[in-house]
């Protein structure tokens, strides 16, 4: 069984990457939140697996934290927000979806080539996933840039955190516990603040379109 662990972790890594791509091409916001929750679940599974294989109980705690936060609490908060704000669709993206896909592929190739020399140096059994983690981070970043509504931007931000935690988990068998707790706290507070902001943006502009937030420009 133990020899399957690196392959399973690679499988979860690929799953996380696929879900990042799915998020880019997704238009319905409720589905976007669900895909994000699935990504969190894949991350939890990878953490638990790695914890079991390397006998580090810290990873179980980290997995539990991710589960509570990224799979249960934050998606629930986001669903509540979109129900109250009544945002369902994000039909217009700044660049069309096939072009987004092509740019995404370029980003994936870039991150893989960047990470290849480093992942060979990793002492963890899942070191090959650094490239995938970096690719997820860059893809989420692109998602934040190309979306015109507030909620997908927030989800892109959270997905980026997912990629980073994944990088930390696979490449270094998790960060020290206190740092993980700090990061989790920051993410939670960040989401709460963003949620509050979205309500206020909606109040001020009657829509969550980010194009309304372009008044402050260089004149």
């Amino acid at each position: 069984m133990i020899k399957f662990v690196p392959q399973l972790i690679n499988l979860f890594a690929t799953l996380i990457l696929m879900l990042s791509f799915a998020m880019i091409s997704q238009r319905r916001i409720a589905t976007l939140i669900n895909i994000f929750a699935m990504q969190g679940a894949a991350l939890v599974a990878a953490s638990i697996l790695l914890g079991y294989a390397t006998n580090q109980p810290d990873l179980y705690v980290s997995a539990g934290l991710t589960l509570a936060l990224k799979v249960i609490l934050i998606p629930w908060l986001l669903h509540r927000v979109i129900r109250k704000l009544n945002v369902r669709w994000d039909v217009e993206t700044l660049i069309n979806i096939p072009t987004t896909m092509l740019v995404g592929i370029a980003l994936v190739i870039f991150s893989f080539s960047l990470a290849l020399p480093i992942s060979r140096l990793s002492s963890s059994m899942a070191g090959g996933s650094l490239g995938i983690a970096l690719a997820c981070v860059l893809l989420s970043f692109m998602m934040m840039i190309t979306r015109s509504k507030a909620v997908p931007q927030v989800i892109g931000f959270l997905s980026m955190e997912n990629g980073l935690i994944f990088a930390a988990t696979t490449v270094t068998n998790g960060m020290p516990m206190i740092v993980e707790f700090g990061i989790a706290l920051d993410v939670l507070v960040g989401v709460l603040i963003l949620g509050v902001f979205m309500f206020q943006i909606r109040e001020k502009f009657d829509s969550l379109d980010i194009h309304n937030l372009e008044a402050l420009k260089e004149d």
Binding site: F4, Q7, L8, N10, L11, A13, T14, L15, L17, M18, F21, S25, N96, I97, P98, M101, L102, G104, I105, V108, I109, F112, A115, L116, S119, G128, S129, G131, I132
Partner: protein, 316 residues
């Protein structure tokens, strides 16, 4: 070539011819059942074929030789494709031609001819269908090639028989790139076989036809051959998917017992695949035409990712 090889090749051809309409019937039956409608009989496609063969063919006045030859060409291409895909055995005398790229080329040949024939008679529906078919094919072909490359990266060869042998007889391992490629392949085969969500095989509405629009002018034996070719295409794609992703049970060379076992295994695998296809069809809504490029672009990207993941994770 050995006698066993010859027998397995002939068996493959016969099985393809016989089972292909059965597969279509199976899928139709499950679609109806899952939608709570009363299902047509399992042997309905055979009856349709028999009916069509007994009718008199009617051709348009301006129909050229191309129009008359196309059904035979298309049927021949599909039959050849089914023959070279290792469905029952990897010991096929035709296997030197069973290159993955050649296979894609066969499908492309069929597509070109049927599009030309559609435009041949000069009706509006024909040109409409031909244009849409070309759009789908233009995007689906690279995706299919990428999927095949993905599989060949693992076995270091583009020959389908080599791929099957390598995957079937290696110890059980999880290849993430194959998972991704599998998803991409499903999407491509939905597009190429004119299934929901890309094209509804039951429809005759102008806005939604792709495949049906091209064959409106055909009748009797021509139509029969084309319908048979369509079900052979579905059969070929399903067997390709099984060969690439679930190759266990395919017989090797010089193993007559395995050959006998391969047939029931194939039937079971196809049956399960057919049910899954029916599930996908009823769970999706048909996409608008201009969303089809996005769908296929996604498939292409997934296949490329599978390739990249293969390189990155070094799974050999």
């Amino acid at each position: 070539m050995s006698i066993l090889g010859l027998i397995s090749q002939l068996m493959a051809i016969v099985v393809a011819l016989v089972l292909a309409p059965l597969l279509s019937g199976w899928v139709n039956q499950w679609r109806a059942r899952l939608q709570n409608k009363s299902a047509p009989g399992l042997l309905q496609p055979y009856r349709v074929l028999r009916k069509l063969f007994n009718k008199e063919s009617v051709l348009a006045e301006h129909a050229s030789t191309l129009f008359r030859m196309t059904p035979y060409i298309v049927f021949g291409c599909m039959l050849l494709a089914s023959a070279i895909i290792p469905t029952l055995s990897t010991d096929l005398p035709l296997s030197p031609a069973a290159d993955a790229i050649a296979l894609v080329g066969l499908f492309a040949l069929a597509r070109v001819f049927i599009s030309l024939a559609a435009m041949d008679v000069g009706t509006a529906f024909g040109s409409l269908g031909a244009r849409r078919e070309m759009l789908v094919g233009f995007l689906a072909e690279p995706a299919l090639l990428m999927v095949l490359f993905c599989a060949s990266m693992i076995s270091r060869s583009t020959s389908l028989t080599t791929i099957v042998e390598t995957l079937a007889h290696r110890e059980l391992a999880i290849y993430p790139s194959l998972l991704v490629a599998g998803v991409a392949f499903t999407m491509v085969s939905l597009a190429e076989n004119a299934r929901v969500p890309v094209d509804n095989p039951d429809t005759h509405l102008e806005l939604t036809m792709i495949h049906e629009a091209m064959i409106l002018e055909y009748s009797a034996r021509h139509l029969a051959l084309i319908e048979w070719a369509a079900s052979l295409k579905l059969f070929a794609y399903s067997c390709m998917g099984l060969a690439l992703f679930f190759p266990w049970g395919v017989a090797q060379a010089h193993a007559p017992l395995e050959l006998l076992l391969a047939l029931p295994v194939l039937v079971i695998k196809l049956a399960i695949g057919g049910v899954l296809l029916a599930f996908i069809e009823i769970a999706s809504a048909k996409m608008r035409i201009f969303r089809v490029p996005e769908f296929l672009a996604t498939a292409f990207m997934l296949a490329v990712i599978g390739l990249l993941v293969n390189i990155l994770l070094g799974v050999a």
